[in-house]
Amino acid sequence: MMKKGIAMLLASAMVLSMIGCGGAAADTTAAPAATEAPAEETKEEEAPAAEESADASGVELNVTTTFAGEDGNAQNFKDAVNAWCAETGNTVADTSATSDETFKTRVITDFETGSEPDVLFFFNGADANSFIEAGKVVSIDDIRAEYPDYATNMNDDLIADSLVDGKKYAVPVNGYWEAMFVNKEVLDAAGVAMPGADYTMEAFKADCQKIVDAGYTPIAAALGNIPHYWWEYAIFNNESPANHLEIPASADDEIGQAWVAGMNDIKELFELGYFPENTLSATDDETFAMFTEGKAAFLIDGSWKVGGIVAACQSDPEDPATLDTAKLDNFDVTYVPGQGSRKATDLIGGLSMGYYITTKAWDDPAKREAAVSFVSYMTSDTVVPKFAQHTASALKNAPAVDESAFNPLQIKAMSMMSGVTSLTGAVQDLFMGDCRVPTFDGMPEIVTGKVDAKDAVQEGIDSYLAQ
């Protein structure tokens, strides 16, 4: 009897394991995005509505965005998703994650393996080339053929064309800018005046020297971890808004020489000791902490960093009520020092991301309507301003900004943006993949002189041309 029992148990285990294998295979297609979840992924941020069982008429949409983690719009996104779910009776399986290279890799891999989400908020530059080439997302024109009102509240001229076929795919929400944040407490201690619209690299270097002499670090940047912002502006400073988005054919041509000069400019700042002592071994979080704790004066970063600085001024980063306004007043944002044909007020920025509807969702009669409804809701005239805040949007009728809803740093950011003379996209968004490795990951070797800047630029161009 005992032996029969064991035999039955083993047989049951075998059958269950077979069922388990079958079930797992089915799940792979049902909830794909979660399978490649990076450590930073915030699945706990899944919209509460998604946890509720969908009603009989409801559709579950798989959505992935970058509105997660420290993103200033993470809460706005959760609120908007909840409101849309309540309005439509649909549910959302949200696999949003912090925007980084791991997130990009995950999304592209999901497309490659046929496990893409139904709707995604993703970059509209070269990052999207692979899935657009594969026909895995639907163009706005194709959607409008069926839904004429789709994204008609947007100014089409501001929606980026795909680099693959020139069509428009991604409906934008909020724009971005990259500028220079300033810790005024450090400037005051070093006797340096707040930089303005006429700030030049020469004046910047003179200020940096004063800051070093006062015992502070001038620039908060982790060159061994996130050299992206300095990379972009160093190149921009050797070009102009007119030709910044051109990619060199060789390190010897005009654009190539500008890139090499940009790398050498960073090297010069490194050799002058204007970056933190541990800039090659520190993480971006560490150098950002130096900035917020009053040990470094300047930080070049994106509009999303406003939220990070505000959070650093709160005793509880999750609770805006704990904001120390006196501490926040120490921070300001200004233009990145200019050089040559680039004025300080020529900034990097634009609308680099947007909502895509995938072909998989479009071809599914049950999901098509829900996907269109979701994107239309998220890009509506009422929702976009909540996300755009102090950045740009593509709305035709953007509502007037209510400054009373903003914190002092956001107001300073809006004031700074009002003086901008041009916004140019980031050339690094067009220069994707392994071609960036020699000058991004290789930045420490460049600034320490272990690799010649020209060789590194040429290596990157060779990889780009080989793609």
Partner: protein, 295 residues
């Protein structure tokens, strides 16, 4: 029917089939596919690639000129030696000491084993705080002791040792538990006989415990060497992208870097093959050196 079901081996094969299928799908197929991928030109994870690398052995040839591979192999070799000497060495000492105490044996077993159950990523973050340049625990202690300058524990030159310390610390308990189990299997009457013959405690350890632990130590050595080849999570958490100046790459972290960060999936696959080949060769070598004995 009765006992006949145990003479018929067919049901056994049937029960083994799911596990076999699982191994085929999730281990052997990816392994063979990885070898195939190492000869293809692949820039996106999950992609089929744009053709065969030119020349077809290009990724393997590249390893001979890639300075980072050289760095990662040297670092891995140092890690192996440190693992063997310090992890297994400390584990032997701790196991012998704990085996010789009467009280608190279970307490020390738990304490030494505890780091194993903590996620390596969490440990990496913990040690990041300890070695932090500004306001790190270590630098604060040194500051209190009067040191004026901050020490960058992650600077080139000392970074590799900063990385090894937590890795070694974490796994001492693992080998400790294996060794203490081995010590428990040594018959008590051998020690009693030695005591009657007048052997001191040291002599009992030297002439009974250590020789009879030989096979267990051999197993630990093989595990330590192959484990050092695969170690990834803690070093990556503390030193992403081999920083600083790509001086802390190990074979595991470099493979991940090439695949996920540099988007060279094909080259990452080739490095994975190298790791497997090295693992097989080194475990054979270690087996030869610490040849198991029959008692």
């Amino acid at each position: 029917m009765g006992a006949n079901i145990y003479k018929n081996k067919k049901p056994v094969s049937l029960f083994l089939f799911p596990a076999f299928l699982f191994m085929i799908v999730f281990l052997y197929y990816p392994f063979v596919k990885n070898i195939w991928n190492s000869f293809m030109e692949i820039k996106q994870l999950g992609g089929t690639g744009s053709g065969v690398v030119s020349p077809w052995y290009g990724n393997y040839a590249k390893m001979f000129t890639d300075a980072n591979i050289r760095t990662s192999l040297i670092n891995t070799l140092i890690m192996m030696l440190a693992t063997l000497v310090f992890q297994v060495g400390f584990a032997i000492i701790l196991a012998l000491m704990v085996d010789n105490i009467r009280r608190g044996r279970q307490f020390f077993k738990t304490v030494f084993f505890f780091p194993i159950v903590i996620s390596a990523t969490a440990l990496g973050l913990l040690f990041n705080l300890i070695f932090l340049y500004d306001k790190g625990m270590l630098n604060q202690i040194l500051e209190m002791l009067g040191k004026a300058e901050l020490t960058d524990w992650k600077a080139e030159g000392i970074a590799i040792f900063t990385m090894m310390l937590p890795v070694i610390w974490q796994y001492v308990g693992f080998y400790f538990v294996i060794l203490i189990t081995g010590l428990n299997n040594i018959p008590e009457d051998l020690y009693e006989a030695a005591t009657i013959d007048g052997a001191t405690r040291f002599q009992r350890v030297r002439y009974i415990s250590i020789p009879l632990l030989h096979n267990v130590i051999c197993t630990c050595a093989v595990l330590a060497v192959t484990g050092a080849l695969k170690v990834f999570d803690l070093p990556w958490t503390m030193f992403p992208k081999g920083m600083p100046l790509k001086s802390t790459f190990l074979t595991g972290t470099y493979m991940y870097y090439q695949t996920m960060e540099a988007k060279n999936v094909d080259y990452g696959s080739a490095i994975a093959v190298l790791i497997v080949v090295l693992g097989v060769i080194l475990s054979k070598v270690v087996n030869k050196i610490f040849r198991e004995k029959d008692y």
